[in-house]
């Protein structure tokens, strides 16, 4: 069956009258194109090499996660959040846990909060490294990819030491952390963070003054701040357009207000400015990780809330109460008071919001994820229409979307 006959395929764009009156070509880019980073499909109407219209087609990775939330206990749903944005699993864990903790009115001990900050910032580094490597690869700078994945491997090893998992960590739980931080985590993180700034210098040596890189990225994918705000763009893209907006500063959560860091801002709003913003964000994240590591407050890594947080294993063997709580939480979960919250965090890609509606039972009535990739991707058409087709790769690469995050 040809594509045009297949059910469910959008083909209206081909029947539209050409805008210029000349013959135009409709080019189908994706969903398997390597530079679309997943399964994004773009329908491009071309006049020569100029893009007349662009129509993104998403949904290839829709897995119904929001529906799935409704049949999971609150603590079970942590594992779903990993799989939304698989490059920033801990950011999603954090958003979900903070939202439920807000509904519960739960106080999280300082050590758990700082540990969350440290690991979330390592996640941001991890995500930005994948972005930088693949973005440079798309534009033709092969070797940057190898450098970035070298450091990413170190971060994944740290995650493995903490949670036993490299990607689907599920390390943050409602009420604190899943496990006690491993022995020797301090040395591991220190070893990484001591060398990391010099590694960022290496990436910059390869790209920042590279004439080919500048030629491919300067003045490409430009959008005005008004357009971006109107279309729901968030995160590094907004900051590259001159707006100082960062939920970590504006609406601090998980004790981010106790950390000293800058929010990098550039005004050119092109692909190069987005590159600069993310590079500087990596340096700032490294600063936060160092502060968290050096100033980690002592104390508990999970809240003192026996009806929500699983008891220690050794207590279960000696205390009847602990055994009962464990049994109750595992079998029927915990009830969350009725209400609704919208918890925003700054994910590596922008504003990540968890809208959770509780009806007073142990399972959420409704969960909606406001994912940054979905909002950012909506601006694709605005960004590439009227430009040359060769710039599409650079422009969509600079958005740093994850299709799992878009389609949910």
């Amino acid at each position: 069956m040809s594509e045009a006959e297949a059910p469910g395929v959008t083909t209206e764009i081909e029947s539209e009258e050409p805008v210029t009156g000349k013959r135009t070509l409709v080019l189908n880019m994706g969903p398997q194109h390597p530079s679309t980073h997943g399964v994004l499909r773009l329908l491009l109407e071309l006049d020569g090499e100029t893009i007349l219209s662009c129509r993104p087609d998403i949904g290839y990775l829709h897995t119904g996660i929001e529906k799935e939330f409704e049949v999971k206990l609150y603590q079970q749903a942590v594992t779903l959040t990993d799989r939304v944005d698989y490059l920033a699993p801990l950011s999603n864990n954090l958003g979900w846990c903070l939202a439920v903790e807000k509904l519960l009115g739960l106080e999280i001990p300082p050590q758990a909060q700082w540990m969350r900050v440290m690991l979330t910032e390592l996640t941001r580094l991890n995500s930005h490294l994948v972005w930088l490597g693949t973005h440079a690869l798309d534009i033709g700078a092969m070797s940057v990819f190898l450098y970035c994945f070298r450091e990413r491997e170190d971060i994944l090893r740290i995650f493995e030491a903490f949670s036993g998992q490299r990607m689907m960590t599920s390390y943050f739980r409602i009420g604190g952390l899943a496990l006690e931080p491993p022995r020797g985590w301090h040395e591991r993180v220190k070893k990484f963070i001591d060398v990391f700034p010099s590694r960022v210098d290496e990436y910059e040596d390869l790209l920042t003054n590279n004439q080919i890189w500048i030629g491919r990225t300067r003045g490409v994918g430009v959008m005005t701040l008004e357009d971006m705000l109107d279309l729901g763009v968030t995160g590094p893209m907004l900051r590259a357009g001159g707006l100082k907006i960062d939920a970590r500063k504006d609406e601090p959560y998980s004790s981010y207000d106790q950390f000293d860091f800058e929010v990098p801002v550039h005004t050119e709003s092109d692909v190069y400015a987005r590159y600069q913003v993310r590079i500087e964000e990596m340096r700032q994240s490294a600063r936060i990780v160092r502060q968290a590591m050096e100033g980690m407050p002592p104390g508990a890594w999970k809240a003192d809330a026996p009806h929500v947080v699983l008891p220690d294993r050794d207590k279960m063997k000696t205390q009847m109460e602990a055994l009962i709580y464990h049994f109750k939480i595992v079998t029927e979960g915990f009830r969350v008071p009725e209400g609704e919250v919208y918890q925003v965090i700054e994910s590596p890609r922008g504003e990540l919001g968890y809208y959770v509606v509780s009806d007073g039972t142990a399972k959420p009535w409704r969960v909606h994820m406001r994912t940054p990739s979905f909002g950012n991707l909506q601006a694709t058409a605005r960004m590439v229409e009227g430009t040359l087709i060769a710039n599409v790769i650079a422009a969509i690469g600079s958005m740093d979307f994850v299709l799992g995050d878009t389609d949910r």
């Binding site: 059910p7 469910g8 395929v9 959008t10 998403i58 949904g59 829709h62 119904g64 929001e66 529906k67 799935e68 409704e70 049949v71 807000k102 509904l103 009115g105 705000l229 109107d230 279309l231 729901g232 707006l243 907006i245 504006d250 609406e251 209400g339 609704e340 919250v341 919208y342 925003v344 504003e351 919001g353 809208y355 509606v357 009535w365 409704r366 909606h368 406001r370 979905f374 909002g375 909506q378 389609d407 949910r408």
Partner: protein, 157 residues
């Protein structure tokens, strides 16, 4: 009618001053302001909030299915004012039979995909939307998966 608990809230009061008939209720819970808006007034209230109260960003549009209660659907808008560092939630209640509401795309172009998603997964129509098609599910899909009477498993393949 603005509830008495919100008489001190400047934002809620300003919305009620702009159009008292539009506000059907509201609450301030866990530090988050929710205003219930009459569905017919949603576009004018959104326009007021965007141009007068500087809520330049529409964070998200989504819906909640309260099946089997009536009115069955809640369309929920999360607005964000960057200049005032403030958020507000608007809520419109719709009846279960042929739910439809005016689109807010004339106010924020970014509402486009969010409303398509709600249309796709809840079957709520947005009037005067420029391009109301399914976005997540295939174009020929039957039913709306996020409705509560749609099964979690056992759907047709």
């Amino acid at each position: 009618m603005l509830p008495d608990s919100l008489r001190e809230n400047t934002l809620a009061v300003s919305v009620a001053d702009f159009d008292a008939d539009a506000v059907a209720g509201g609450k301030l819970d866990r530090g988050e302001l929710t205003l219930e808006i009459a569905p017919a007034k949603i576009v004018s209230i959104c326009g007021f909030l965007k141009y007068d109260r500087k809520f330049v960003r529409l964070s998200t549009v989504t819906a909640v299915d309260r099946y089997p209660a009536e009115p069955r659907f809640e369309v929920v808008y999360h607005l964000h004012s960057v200049a005032r560092n403030q958020r507000v939630r608007l809520k419109c209640r719709l009846r279960g039979a042929d739910p439809a509401i005016e689109s807010v795309t004339p106010v924020w172009r970014g509402a486009d995909w969010y409303e398509r998603e709600v249309f796709d997964l809840f079957g709520i129509r947005f009037l005067n939307h420029p391009d109301l098609r399914r976005i997540m599910m295939p174009d020929d899909w039957e039913g709306h998966p996020l409705r509560k009477d749609y099964p979690i498993t056992g759907a047709r393949i």
